[in-house]
Subunit: 229 residues, 2 copies
């Protein structure tokens, strides 16, 4: 993807535009508020002040030259829906619209938006799942059944090669990463503190799990819990 | 984790509390607005109306009985910071605070919050990365260097076993999933449409990649792009 238009420069829109711009994508960042547009103009490449819900103004930006559009407007549901429909009428190649409520998401689904992002809800589910897993230091939701979690390696794995442990066969999980840690040299601390010395992602069969390692495991949630001490 | 207090029932807080509650966790959902508390009282288990920035009111909830607290307040940065500090003084075991801006996140970091969630920024970075990967249908950010993406299997992989392809050796990536698809039987559509027939996560060495498959690949971003046609 080479050219992307981001409409609405609140937190979500601004960070999306900035990330794309810093990665070398041609970004057009649009907002209807003058002071917001001038505030970001040196940071985001091309910034344009216009009311994107006005179809002529949007059309003058030559929408069919863009590879993708992100409608990042939060509070104003009407504007978000109108702009989304204008972009569809102008035959935008790829469209991502941000939802600010489940009703908003339902409407966007009904009008045919394939990619809906709902920041507050998506991160809330991720946060709740992260809280519920014991011992894990990080958590990724792959699908309803599968997750990736990072856990302290069980004692029985210490000093064994991955090939010896045959984890896919025994636990129905896949180890996709190993983090080797040592204990931080601080005798005044009463809590163990670790330093991460090395992280191996996509490990080989001959890699060895050691004491204090964290292992990053992919598998069904119920299978992973069998690995947790 | 068994008992969790969620303070602030906006979109983020409400979805966090609901996800925990539906998973069987004892949730105390707190908000200072009466109508919000009564709106959610049948859905969230225990709901309490109180001003959490008032330390005595917070203390009366017996904070040391909780395993974790989530401060989900968005707009009111002062309340978010005050409540966070009260919870730290009351020795909460685990604390997650939501940030609404980079300055807010900086302050939370300085006052010692280990787990900061910034929904708008986190999903924006994920959205931008998803947009930038060509052909991919989904994307997870594992770390700054590594990602997981889902891409159409390259033609040269069709009808070969994973073991034959030796992808870790050749491409420095790991295939962690295969989605088998067939073409939807709809001759009136001019665009190909696929049905997902089967998804294998954590595949075996003998699993075969076929035409129209999507493969879920873990690896360094630059290595993954070598796999994309
Ligand atoms: N019709 C429109 N055309 C262009 N920009 C618009 C239009 N309507 C709203 N905006 C802009 O969208 C931006 C984001 O909207 P919103 O008020 O929802 O921000 P926010 O809720 O702070 O977003 P975030 O949650 O991402 O921080 C605002 O800066 C606003 O000026
Ligand atoms: N001191 C406080 N004690 C308890 N609840 C509070 C306090 N201050 C604010 N809240 C509540 O926090 C909730 C969420 O705050 P906020 O106004 O940021 O919602 P929001 O921006 O809509 O959140 P979201 O982005 O998650 O949708 C509100 O319902 C508000 O009543």
């Amino acid at each position: 993807m080479q050219r992307c238009i981001v409409i609405g420069l609140g937190n979500f829109g601004y960070t999306t535009a900035l990330t794309l711009y810093q990665a070398g994508i041609d970004v057009i960042a649009v907002d209807s508020q003058k002071d917001i547009v001038s505030y970001y103009k040196d940071e985001l490449g091309v910034t344009i002040c216009c009311d994107a819900s006005n179809k002529e103004q949007l059309e003058s930006l030559q929408i069919n030259n863009f590879d993708a559009a992100v409608v990042a407007i939060g509070q104003n549901m009407t504007a978000s829906i109108l702009i989304t429909m204008h972009l569809q009428d102008l035959k935008i190649k790829r469209l991502i619209t941000r939802a600010i409520s489940t009703d908003h998401a339902k409407i966007l689904e009904k009008i045919g938006v394939d990619e809906i992002i709902y920041p507050e809800q998506d991160t809330a589910i991720k946060t709740a799942n992260k809280l519920m897993m014991k011992n894990i230091t990080d958590y990724l939701h792959i699908s309803d059944e599968y997750s990736i979690i990072e856990i302290p390696a069980p004692e029985e794995f210490f000093n064994k090669k991955l090939a010896e442990l045959a984890i896919p066969k025994t636990y129905n999980c896949q180890v996709i990463g190993i983090k080797y840690r040592s204990i931080a040299p601080d005798d005044q601390k009463d809590e163990k503190e670790f330093i991460i010395e090395q992280t191996i992602i996509a490990p080989n069969a001959n890699d060895i799990i050691r004491k204090n390692c964290l292992i990053i495991v992919l598998g069904k949630t119920e299978d992973i819990s069998r690995l947790q001490t």
